[in-house]
């Protein structure tokens, strides 16, 4: 028998003996899930009936309302009770559920004022208000009919338009529409939960129990061990998801829930759709299984792995929730977005309106992501540092003191570690978001200026100095040569039109946030010279300094040990992500590309000053162009194609800049060539 099958069989056997896994995989979907739904439904029905069983006590006070009191008294759902002078007190003491205060009578054509007092925080009072309001409407109809009769007018006089709803959706389509928003999310979560515990147990759990070392001394390639483990995790995920799917279908589709019948909501998903949903669950389970396994193996204990995987869990749920929100359409972009694509596909399969091409795109891209995650897991298992870099035995290695770590940092050339740099950026982004928005609301443009300096520049400089890092190396405070500066200028001047083209190409697949763009256009357009200078200070000089110190300073300085392409790509992506918001997805790619271009120039020259200059030129160009009346038309419509001659011109300038910059710099020595990382694997002897 091949080794991976031996590992798979053993892992499956052991996993199926794990109560936690069985609980999540079988007990939750098969028992708890329908039981929970049915219980909730029964409670709902019980509550509704309970409320309806008794007539609501109400009071009608104030002036006499002839006819209304009779209607209330005739109603089976209302019971008129006397109250004192204080209707609010009567409501608060629950002696009545609603009080109608009738205003003085008016002449034939007037409107009589009335106030309906109730307690919006009480179910009984809300019901009383509804019933009483209905009685008032009935009385109003009677009064209206009397008035029309008196004038000799037909009833239709007061109803010029009568609308009747007519939905073409069949009941099962309505059911699919409603359930299609909830069920995909539940399916994704249950698949994820199904893979969650086995992944931790088979990776970190094995390390914690000390069995991984033993396993790796068996004459089996690490690849076979990963495959065996991964198949177990993925299979458990698929089984959990399939059981959930079956359980949900049984619960909703067989009509055992009375509530679906009560509100006319039938759920009927075709057998073909069920098969495709199941097929979609397989790559999803593979993706989760491999991703979780790869992350969990880097943790030394079950608890540590749980901590490491919880943020991943949260991140995965966000795209899975997208179909729940109205207004987000299932298009090519959503199809290629990990997890979101599957969630949208499930929704469309449940509503019966699936686009075959999009469905295929989802299955293909999810399979690609799953394979990438599998490669990641295999790599993690093959890494000496991952396997022996922690574990219970590590406690025998003396813990480093803060001073040791500081010394170690100086040993790395006095720059922060990649983890510390990324953590700083993450914290800065959070503070910038929560602090920057109120500042901008309160002080508008001056608030933006303050946010850049106080929430980006000052924290970055403080981080470098308080962390004891070398500011020259961390922030790349080297003076560039004249040729390096000239080359960097060429690079950015060439890149700006190319990025414009990229931005325009995006409008074919991404929605254009028109309102936001109009606001931005107004912001960057200057009418006077003084205004132009202010805008240049606010939108060009300030970000060029503050954002460069953060991204090409701290982030680039902290990631120098990585391979060059990783430094550049990471820098661009983080820079793009920093400028990202739900309405400004369209800004991500252009900003990320600009970030990469600037990061490459700064990395190559070792000078943040070229980054500051490039950033200034990019932002300054936009402000100046937008403020030039002759050119304003050109920018007013983002969906309009940019002048085509810009593409070759931009490419030539960009290529010339890159060539010149390469010739006037030497690639920096990265940390990869320097002595390696300093963490010591455990040593038990």
């Amino acid at each position: 028998m091949s080794a991976w099958r031996v590992v798979f069989q053993k892992e499956l056997r052991e996993t199926l003996r794990d109560r936690r896994t069985l609980l999540v995989m079988i007990v939750v979907p098969v028992l708890l899930y329908p039981v929970l739904l049915i219980t909730m439904e029964q409670l709902l029905i019980f509550g509704m009936r309970n409320l309806e069983a008794e007539a609501s006590p109400v009071a009608v006070i104030g002036f006499e309302a002839s006819g209304l009191e009779e209607i209330v008294d005739r109603s089976e759902t209302l019971r008129r009770v006397p109250i004192g002078d204080d209707p609010e007190e009567a409501l608060r003491s629950d002696s009545v559920t609603a009080v109608l205060i009738v205003g003085a009578g008016v002449e034939a054509s007037g409107s009589r004022s009335m106030t309906l007092m109730y307690d919006a925080a009480s179910d009984a009072s809300n019901r009383g208000r509804g019933e009483l309001s209905q009685a008032v409407t009935e009385w109003q109809d009677v009064l209206l009919a009397d008035r029309l009769d008196a004038e000799g007018l037909p009833r239709s006089f007061a109803i010029p338009v009568q609308v009747a709803d007519s939905s073409i959706a069949r009941p099962e389509e309505v059911g699919g529409y409603t359930m299609g928003r909830i069920l995909p999310l539940l399916l994704v979560i249950m698949t994820l939960l199904g893979a969650f515990y086995p992944a931790i147990d088979l990776a970190a759990g094995e390390k914690e129990r000390g069995t991984l070392e033993t396993l790796l001394t068996a004459p089996v390639p690490a690849r076979d061990i990963v495959i065996g483990k991964f198949l177990t995790v993925a299979l458990i995920g698929v089984i959990a998801a399939a059981l959930n799917l079956a359980s949900m279908l049984l619960t909703f589709q067989t009509g055992i829930l009375q509530v679906t019948a009560l509100i006319g909501l039938e759920v009927s998903i075709s057998p073909m759709a069920i098969v495709v949903i199941f097929l979609g669950l397989i790559p999803l389970a593979v993706l989760f299984g491999a991703l979780f396994l790869g992350i969990a193996v880097a943790s030394s204990s079950f608890k540590e792995a749980q901590n490491a995987l919880t943020p991943v869990y949260m991140l995965v749920i966000i795209p899975a929730m997208l179909p729940v929100f109205p207004g987000i359409d299932f298009g090519p972009l959503m199809a290629i977005l990990p997890v979101a694509g599957v969630s949208f596909l499930f929704r469309d399969l449940m509503t019966g309106g699936v686009d075959v091409a999009l469905g295929a795109l989802v299955l293909v891209t999810t399979t690609v992501y799953a394979l990438a995650a599998l490669a990641f897991a295999a790599r993690a298992f093959g890494s000496e540092q991952t396997l022996f870099g922690g574990g219970s035995e590590a406690s025998e290695v003396p813990r480093e003191s803060l001073r040791d770590r500081m010394r170690e940092r100086r040993g790395r050339g006095g720059v922060p570690t990649p983890g510390a740099a990324v953590l700083f950026i993450a914290l800065a982004a959070v503070f910038f978001f929560w602090g920057g928005i109120p500042l901008q609301i309160l002080f508008r443009e001056r608030g933006l200026l303050a946010a850049e300096w106080l929430l980006l520049f000052v924290p970055a400089v403080a981080f470098v100095f308080l962390g004891g890092f070398d500011p020259i190396r961390t922030l790349s405070l080297r003076r560039p040569t004249a040729l390096q500066t000239a080359a960097s200028v060429l690079v950015i001047l060439g890149a700006v039109p190319l990025v414009w083209v990229v931005g325009w190409l995006q409008t074919f697949i991404l929605p254009v946030p028109w309102e936001l763009l109009e606001g931005l256009e107004q912001l960057v357009t200057a009418e006077t010279a003084t205004r132009l200078l202010w805008l240049l200070l606010l939108l060009a000089v300030t970000p060029a300094i503050c954002e460069e110190v953060v991204f090409r300073g701290v982030l680039l300085g902290g990631t120098r040990d990585l391979e060059p392409w990783r430094i550049i790509v990471l820098n661009g992506l983080v820079f793009g992500a920093f400028h990202l918001s739900f309405e400004t997805v369209i800004r991500f790619l252009p900003t990320a590309i600009l970030g990469m271009v600037i990061a490459w120039a700064v990395w190559r020259t070792g000078s943040i000053w070229v980054g500051v200059l490039m950033h200034f030129l990019n932002n300054g160009t936009i402000v100046v162009l937008a403020s030039t009346p002759a050119l304003q038309e050109l920018f007013s419509d983002p969906e309009a194609p940019p002048p085509l001659w810009l593409v070759p011109v931009g490419m030539v300038i960009f290529a010339a800049g890159v060539r010149l910059l390469r010739s006037v710099t030497t690639p920096p020595v990265t940390g990869l060539e320097a002595p390696g990382p300093t963490s010591l694997p455990p040593e038990t002897s």
């Binding site: 028998m1 080794a3 031996v6 590992v7 053993k10 056997r13 052991e14 003996r17 794990d18 094995e206 129990r209 000390g210 069995t211 991984l212 070392e213 033993t214 396993l215 790796l216 001394t217 068996a218 004459p219 089996v220 390639p221 000496e384 396997l387 022996f388 219970s392 035995e393 025998e396 290695v397 040993g411 002595p675 390696g676 990382p677 300093t678 963490s679 010591l680 694997p681 455990p682 040593e683 038990t684 002897s685």
Partner: protein, 244 residues
């Protein structure tokens, strides 16, 4: 049978094992001694192909670990100090699993599993889940699992750690028996009485370097101390390079 040739393993600026050369012959028991952090486990892990040496090579039965790690693992029994077992497998299942991983199947697999159960006195608790076994019982299962494929070389990393006298005795008897069967046994330990009792030769590691090697008696004699425990203490306290 087991050979280290100028093995060096560095973790960044730290050298865990430095230029280690030693050999363990068939039918010989070699005790690797050293304080915590001396490099014993790192050296054993390099031999078992769990770690890649920075420089140097290790050999088992004429096969280079770095060139043919799978071949070496086939010829090696590795008993880690952690004594980790799969809690939700029974002893029999666990021994069978490792037998399968070592390529055994059919009647040969059953024969070897039964032989190990018999040899190490596992019969009474063979079908109990490992999570419910005592420390001594766990150690016997660990040994059975490591030896199920009957390899010519044994690496035992602190095999008696945490065991009571009786369980420890079982291990001693086992080591004696395997030596008699011509196995090369390399074990690390902190117990000097164990070394006196079992080892044909000892090697003392300090700061990753082999600072003394020879029969227990010759190491004691070279240091001029009264016994092995004192000799060991004096060796690990002296600066590296003065004794060899």
């Amino acid at each position: 049978m087991i050979r280290f040739e100028r093995l060096t393993k560095r973790y960044g600026p730290l050298t865990a094992v430095s230029d280690l050369s030693l050999e363990v012959h068939a039918g010989e028991v070699y005790a690797l001694l050293g304080p915590n952090g001396a490099g014993k486990t790192t050296a054993l892990r390099c031999l078992a192909s769990l770690l890649t040496p920075t420089t140097g090579t290790t050999w088992v039965d004429g096969i280079c670990t770095q060139e043919a790690p799978i071949g070496v693992r086939r010829r090696l029994a590795f008993l880690a100090a952690s004594m980790g077992l799969y809690e939700r497998l029974s002893g029999t299942e666990l021994i069978t699993y490792f037998g399968q991983l070592h390529g055994l199947d059919g009647p040969r697999l059953n024969e070897r599993v039964e032989a190990m159960i018999d040899l190490l006195g596992i019969e009474d608790f063979r079908d109990r889940l490992c999570g419910r076994l005592s420390t001594g019982q766990r150690q016997r299962i660990s040994l059975a699992r490591a030896l199920v494929h009957d390899p010519p070389a044994l690496i035992l990393d602190e095999p008696t750690i945490g065991l009571d006298v009786l369980s420890g005795q079982t291990i001693y008897e086992f080591i004696d028996r395997e030596r008699a069967r011509g196995k090369a046994i390399l074990f690390s330990t902190h117990q000097m009485d164990e070394v006196d009792l079992l080892a044909d030769r000892v090697g003392v590691l300090r700061g990753g370097e082999l600072v003394a090697e020879g029969s227990p008696a010759s190491v004691v004699a070279d240091t001029g101390e009264a016994n092995l425990a004192r000799a060991f203490l004096s060796l690990i306290r002296e600066p590296a390079g003065e004794v060899r």
